[in-house]
């Protein structure tokens, strides 16, 4: 997905000379296309994320679109105050892109696991939070991000993510995409983990449970209508996110459901509120932490049957 992201951004930059990339020495093998094509609009500030974000803000304040780009937590947590005070408070047109959300770089250790990003970015006023599920969403999300006037956080996948959507999609910021319909329960996913929720829905179907699947590619602004419709039209709601269970997609959906009342059975599938120090591949870690499609399906069924 990261290669696709860079290709699409490069294509857009061909037609839009206001797009700048401001990096902090990360992006080997991916960013060279932009750097070579637009040397005047490409800056590597060195290993200095605070300056990267401040410089990007200054670039944006002058009427441009500045894209910061790095992996995992580097362009968010190290420079969070620059994102808050400089970018968001000024509504600066800065796009913060991370490669490898969640456990994508799992075996590299806790420093490289972006597992609180959705919660933290979502808490910032005026920030749009995007986490595309597959290539189709990723491509559409780059266009939407650039078209949006204001700060955007873009959680990009890493590589070889399977296609969630079989055909063309209608991607709009703040509007969930229904991947399949169902009347028994709703699985709501965000980011690349949504594919596993989709697979879980297939398993549930073989067990006679019809699951609706929503791709909530925009965590903020959240598609409240889609959440409320799920609560109204199906009997249980399950969120699935490659993120701490606190404050991310599950938290956002819980806020909507709690305020709406109705008491629909609800479950958050996410990472435990602890650091992941087990060593293993991305897929191994996901399976270990309850994201195997069979495990998601079993959790959903327990919720539906009141056995949770």
């Amino acid at each position: 997905m990261r290669s696709l992201f860079n290709k699409v951004l490069l294509d857009i930059a061909e037609k839009n000379d206001r797009i700048y990339m401001v990096l902090a020495d990360i992006g080997y093998g991916e960013i060279e296309g932009f750097a070579e094509r637009f040397p005047d609009r490409f800056f590597n500030v060195g290993v200095a994320e605070q300056n990267m974000t401040g410089v990007a803000c200054g670039v944006a304040m002058e009427g441009n679109i500045a894209v910061t780009y790095s992996i995992a937590n580097f362009p968010t947590l190290r420079c969070l105050e620059q994102i808050r005070n400089d970018v968001c408070y000024h509504k600066a047109n800065v796009k913060i892109v991370i490669i490898g959300g969640g456990l994508a770089y799992g075996a590299l250790g806790v420093s490289h696991q972006a597992t609180e990003d959705l919660a933290i970015m979502r808490a910032l006023p005026d920030m749009v939070v995007l986490a595309p599920a597959d290539f189709a969403e990723a491509e559409a999300a780059v266009h939407a991000m650039i078209a949006h006037d204001g700060p955007v956080y873009y959680r990009c996948g890493y590589k070889k993510e399977p296609a969630l959507h079989g055909g063309p999609i209608d991607f709009r910021i703040g509007r969930a995409i229904q991947v399949r319909d169902g009347s028994d329960l709703t699985l709501i996913g965000t980011g690349t983990i949504t594919y596993r929720a989709f697979e879980a829905a297939g398993i549930l179907e073989s067990q006679g449970v019809k699951a609706r699947v929503l791709s909530m590619h925009t965590v903020k602004p959240l598609d409240r209508e889609a959440v409320l419709a799920a609560a109204r039209e199906t009997r249980a709601v399950v969120t699935v996110e490659e993120h701490n269970v606190l404050g991310g997609l599950g938290g956002a959906v819980a806020e909507v459901l709690a305020e709406a009342g109705g008491g629909v059975p609800f479950l958050r599938v996410g990472l435990p509120d602890s650091y992941i120090h087990l060593v293993g591949s991305h897929n191994w870690l996901l399976d270990h932490y309850g994201f195997a499609p069979q495990a998601i399906a079993a959790s959903a069924r327990r919720l539906l049957e009141g056995r949770q």
């Binding site: 500030v45 300056n51 401040g54 410089v55 200054g58 400089d86």
Partner: protein, 276 residues
Amino acid sequence: MKASDQYRRLAQRIRGYAVKMTNCRSSGHVGSSLSMADIVAVLYGRILRVDPANPRWPERDRFILSKGHAAAGLYGALVEKGFFPKEWIDTYYGDDGRLCGHISHHVPGAEFSTGSLGHGLPVAAGMALVAKRQKRNYRIFCLMSDGDCNEGSTWEAIMFAAQHRFDNLTAIVDANRIQALGKVSDIIDMEPFARKVEAFGWAAREIDGHDVEQIEKTLLAVPFRKGRPSFVIARTVKGKGVKSIENTVGSHYRCIPDEKLKEVYEELGVSDAFPV
């Protein structure tokens, strides 16, 4: 009136406003506002190309106050230049007020909001980058504090600006030698300050930050060297102009109390403009 007399007069009025605003609400940072008054007076009296009738004029010089806590020392200059009505001064820090304690871009004439140190210079560098790449003529001035120079992000920007030869960028440090908990020399001694920033690739000058003629001459000379950003270390006195609080750490926190106001305005020579 000679230009230098005009700067001095403006500086004293800026001090008057700073004393008045901080007194009204018992807020802090009066010492930081007083120390930079002469620099701000020369900037707004001569150096900065700005248009109060059109605060976002695209060709304006960008002035970023990185020491945002000294907003009270900038509001006076902005009101004297006509960026916003005088009545706003009385709303400083107050309920439903127009002016907050740290500088905000919601105030006409204020380029950028700061308040946490170390934010101004990176943003200024970003603006300098755009001016260079898009061949724009505006210049960028960033006024910092001693404390600003403790922040790693400031040094990240210092390295970046030198690397890309942003000679349209000028950083000025209001070096009043006192930071929040004590003397700079006891906390993080910046000396040899000029040699440090020179070694980082900037062209540096040290000046008396209360000598308006020297400030004017220095700021008219930027860039000091082609292809290098300019760094001005302006040696100042915290609380300058009000003897009773000069060179005190307390001036970072305490304002001038009511019973001293009349005497202080007289000391500043601004009693006519600030009746008690």
